[in-house]
């Protein structure tokens, strides 16, 4: 099958890859670029395990074609921490035990970061609706929501300093 050449920016780095026209961005990330942090739970846009941020918007990478990444800026879970410093959402997930198996976690981390970028002070209900596209079968969401709200307040504190 003929492959297409795509130039893009992933986690702050310029990245070029070749991909087949039917390959999703998730396939490319995982199988071509070896960025396996984004997970495939359904390949149909229903679970959110593959969530990435493209040009500032949260998207399911299983619903976007690799070729559509041309000229865009993509952030995956691998790009959320700054070097050794975890993002507050990641830190709070650890402190609140907001993961059990951890398979849904990359998608939640990316989606929660996207939420807090847009709304630094979400209510519990806003957080629950924003994250309603991310399925977790292990935790019952309780500790995830607490972690996200705690990360939000920590980030507000940091911003105020």
């Amino acid at each position: 099958m003929k492959k297409y050449h795509v130039s893009t920016t992933i986690n702050g780095e310029p990245v070029e890859f070749l991909c087949e026209p039917q390959q999703t961005l998730l396939d490319v990330l995982r199988d071509t670029l070896n960025l396996t942090g984004s997970k495939e739970g359904c390949a149909s846009g229903d679970c959110g395990a593959c969530t990435v941020i493209v040009d500032g918007r949260m998207v399911c990478s299983c619903l976007m074609l690799g070729v559509e990444a041309e000229g865009r800026t993509v952030t995956t879970v691998e790009g959320i921490a700054t070097g050794d410093t975890l993002h507050p959402v990641q830190q709070k997930f650890l402190e609140h035990a907001a993961l059990q198996c951890g398979f849904c976690t990359p998608g939640f981390i990316v989606a929660a970061k996207a939420l807090l970028d847009e709304n630094p002070n979400p209510t519990e209900e806003e957080a629950r609706y924003w994250l309603a596209g991310n399925l977790c079968r292990c935790t019952g969401y309780d500790k995830i929501i607490r972690a996200v709200l705690d990360a939000a307040s920590e980030m507000r504190r940091e911003a105020a300093e």
Binding site: G37, K39, C42, Q100, C101, G102
Partner: protein, 756 residues
């Protein structure tokens, strides 16, 4: 040695789990994250029919497609004889397992594997599937349990004769087994009753719904040595089952534990691994297979659907005099539903003088069921806990008092046999009574229900090794995949025994060649059994450390005491020495006898049974039939919470799965016996916006058989929710739902009927 009642420094705290950073940064490697040099991709051809004879399989076209490296069918697997194996909480037969992985002769359900290909890209493998042609003779099929039990039902297996009936049947049947046991005099018990109630409750199969689909990579070297990397609840199980199904020596298989993205019992079997191995053997290349979500629904184990008939007799004051249940469980295509544990759980929570329990294990044209959290118990308790509520209402007693009056306590002889010791059921009821949720006011259109749940919990074979590094840090290796934070709990127990901070203990999951045999992660056994092995291994290390200190001081080891990670002379008679730290002893270990480590393999006994009681508030929308969960409190005896946050998480997760089971989840089949909703869009599991916070209360009645008093905790919490929700709906809306799921259309229909 027991640590129960001692002042503890690590156990009971909430440290960050050792594998946490990898999991929040995307570095953790799950089943599908592995690649190997030269690796190719496998895909599986599945049956479109619910029941059909396979007349011929044409693979030539697929094989001639460029890029295709191998095709396998049942002909590539040995046709093995029936042989039962203990599979955790259920019995499993290798012949059935082999035929479930690859159909032989007949396909038995929509989605049953018939052939597999391996090719150089997923797209080529997919294209090759379409080139495999299969000639079928379509047969009549049967989907529902009672239809499958009928005399004239289409038969799945003509070699299946009902076990447990006298005389031995002469004709085959879909009823694989009948179980019956009684206690006391049931008829007399019902005669004694002032009030008798008899009801029927049904439920559809539901899926475990782990977010990670099954995935594996298998490689076979020219000398026959095999490597399997897979996401499972037990890599020793993977090794054993693959060896058996393919006729390979166990020592020639090394199974590596991937991180596991949820299992809940559904990953206690193999589906892909033997197929990937067969493809790898034939192609000479490593083969990766990953299920799609549709395949997960169509071909991996749901939990049994069931029909449960309950009859209860009681005195006016609510004291139960007799009980009778009949449980009919769907096993799917092969025998092995969890009806056995269901029978034992049905009345396990109650002090019932007279009871009869009957169970049927029934095959039908659905995927073979797999364990799902407390397998069998939710079905039975859906019936019994709903019926108790109906009884409470008819007697005019509050449902909590009814349970208090009849609760099993220490010394109660359970209907299924054991006499309870050190159980905490009554303590959970007392905690309900004391909880502000129980008496909180409710608004109009709202209702509150309670229900209880029980699970045995298991122990079993576990190995653990503790190694001390030269700088006095430690590593603990076990053989259980970490499905929900067990690295943390194991590291904490070892740190407690060694007397060092938990950050200085590294917990790892070792592969099958690197640690002694360890039974799978299931039955809520890991913190109990593997924790026990790790604790005892750490205690041996402490003994050794004392010996080394004694050597350095030239005194007897009995004169050395271990406290807070340091050796001290025990009392003034031992001599005046400066204490030696773990690091100092480790640093000099070469001069005192070499490396310090201990490995222990045990068969842990004495898993303490678990009991829980849940309070649920709901609001029913009379326009749409939608049920909203307003507030939920789960109360459970956990023995001793090693890492309380992960214990709470087990309760919250189990409750949420139970709420999904109650309100939405079900397998829907069309008229042709094909699954109609094999995706997360139409099979709707709870999402964050469906739920409130899930409150938990951890009651701690220590299990004396565990060094820290731990009991298994993961399974009990899925048992009460279905009935707790139904009982709340009745009080909110005045309608009694007896069929799961209580989805909006069903609730609406019930409301319409009651409005008459």
């Amino acid at each position: 040695m027991t640590f129960i009642g001692k002042d503890l420094k690590v156990v009971g705290t909430r440290p960050i789990r050792p594998d946490g950073v990898d999991k929040v940064t995307g570095r953790a490697n799950f089943g599908a994250d592995m690649t190997m040099p030269g690796m190719i991709w496998g895909k599986i051809k599945r049956s479109p029919h619910a029941h059909a004879r396979i007349k011929r399989i044409y693979t030539e076209k697929a094989l001639s497609l460029p890029g295709v490296k191998a095709v396998v069918t049942a002909a590539d697997f040995p046709d093995i004889a029936a042989e039962e194996a203990f599979a955790g909480e259920a019995i499993m037969d290798f012949r059935d397992l082999s035929r479930n992985c690859m159909a032989r002769g007949k396909v038995l359900y929509d989605g049953h594997a018939v052939a597999a290909v391996a090719a150089t890209s997923p797209a080529i493998a997919e294209a090759a599937l379409d080139l495999i042609e299969i000639e079928y003779e379509v047969l009549p099929f049967v989907i529902d349990v009672e239809a499958a039990m009928a005399e004239d039902a289409p038969l799945l297996h003509d070699t299946l004769f009902t076990q447990g009936v006298e005389p031995k049947p002469s004709r085959p049947s879909n009823i694989a087994k009948r179980i019956n046991f009684t206690k006391g005099d049931v008829e007399a018990g019902f005669r004694e009753a002032d009030h008798i109630i008899e009801r029927r409750y049904t439920g559809k199969p539901v899926h475990q719904g782990y977010i990670e689909p099954h995935a594996c990579v298998a490689a076979v070297a020219a000398d026959g040595q095999c490597m399997i990397w897979s996401s499972s609840q037990g890599h020793f199980m993977v090794r054993q089952y693959c060896a058996h199904l393919l006729g390979i020596d166990i020592s020639n298989i090394r199974a590596m534990p991937a991180e596991i993205g949820g299992g809940f019992g559904g990953k206690t079997l193999v589906y892909l691994e033997p197929v990937a191995l067969a493809l790898a053997r034939k192609s000479g290349r490593p083969v990766k297979i990953v299920m799609t979500r549709e395949e997960v629904f169509r071909a991996s184990g749901p939990a049994a659907g069931s029909v449960v008939e309950v009859k209860l007799g009681a005195k006016k004051d609510g004291r139960l005099t007799a009980g009778e249940v009949v449980l009919k469980y769907q096993a799917g295509a092969f025998p092995g539903s969890p009806v056995g544990p269901g029978c034992m759980c049905a009345f396990a929570m109650y002090d019932l003088p007279n009871a009869s329990v009957t169970g049927y294990d029934v095959v039908c044209n659905r995927p073979k069921v797999a364990a799902y959290r407390a397998p069998g118990a939710p079905n039975a308790s859906w019936g019994v806990e709903s019926c108790l509520d109906e009884l409470a209402i008819e007697l005019g007693i509050d449902p909590l008092s009814l349970r208090e009056k009849n609760a099993a306590r220490d010394g109660t002889k359970a209907v299924h046999g054991p006499t309870w010791q050190n159980i905490g059921y009554a303590e959970t009821l007392a905690a309900v009574r004391a909880h502000p949720h129980w008496t909180a006011p409710l608004g109009p259109g709202q209702g509150r229900g309670i229900a209880s749940g029980f699970w045995f919990n298991i122990g079993g074979e576990s190995s653990a090794a503790v190694h001390i590094a030269e700088d006095g840090t430690a590593a603990v290796a076990t053989g259980n995949p970490d499905i929900g934070g067990s690295r943390a709990s194991i590291a904490m127990m070892v740190a407690e025994v060694l007397g060092i901070p938990v950050e200085r203990v590294r917990a790892i999951v070792a592969d099958t060649a690197s640690i002694g045999y360890t039974f799978l992660t299931g039955g809520s056994r890991v913190t109990f059994a593997t924790g026990m092995a790790a604790t005892e291994a750490a205690e041996r290390v402490v003994e050794e450390l004392k010996k080394r200190a004694a050597m350095m001081w030239e005194i007897s080891p009995e004169a050395v005491e271990w406290r807070d990670g340091m050796a001290y002379p025990a009392g003034p008679n031992a001599g005046a020495f400066e204490p030696l730290s773990l690091g100092e002893i480790a640093f000099r270990s070469a001069r005192t006898g070499g490396p310090i480590s201990a490995e222990l393999s045990i068969n842990a006994q004495g898993a303490g049974p678990g009991f829980g009681t849940h309070i649920c508030d709901v609001e029913v929308d009379r326009e749409t039939g939608a049920v909203k969960i307003l507030r939920y409190t789960a109360i459970q005896d956990v023995g001793r919470a090693i890492h309380p946050a992960y214990v709470e998480g087990q309760l919250q997760g189990g409750v949420t799965q139970g709420i999904g089971w109650a309100l939405n989840e079900e397998y829907i089949y069309d008229g042709e016996g094909r699954l109609d909703n094999p995706g997360f869009l139409d099979y709707r599991i709870p999402v964050a916006s469906d739920l409130p916070m899930i409150d938990t209360v951890l009651v701690e009645v220590p299990n004396p058989r565990h060094p820290f008093g731990a009991r298994g905790v993961g399974e009990v919490p899925i048992v009460p929710p279905t009935a707790a929700v139904a009982n709340a709906i009745y009080r909110a809306a005045g309608v009694r739902l007896r069929d799961l799921p209580m989805s909006p259309p069903h609730v609406l229909a019930a409301l319409d009927k009651s409005d008459g």
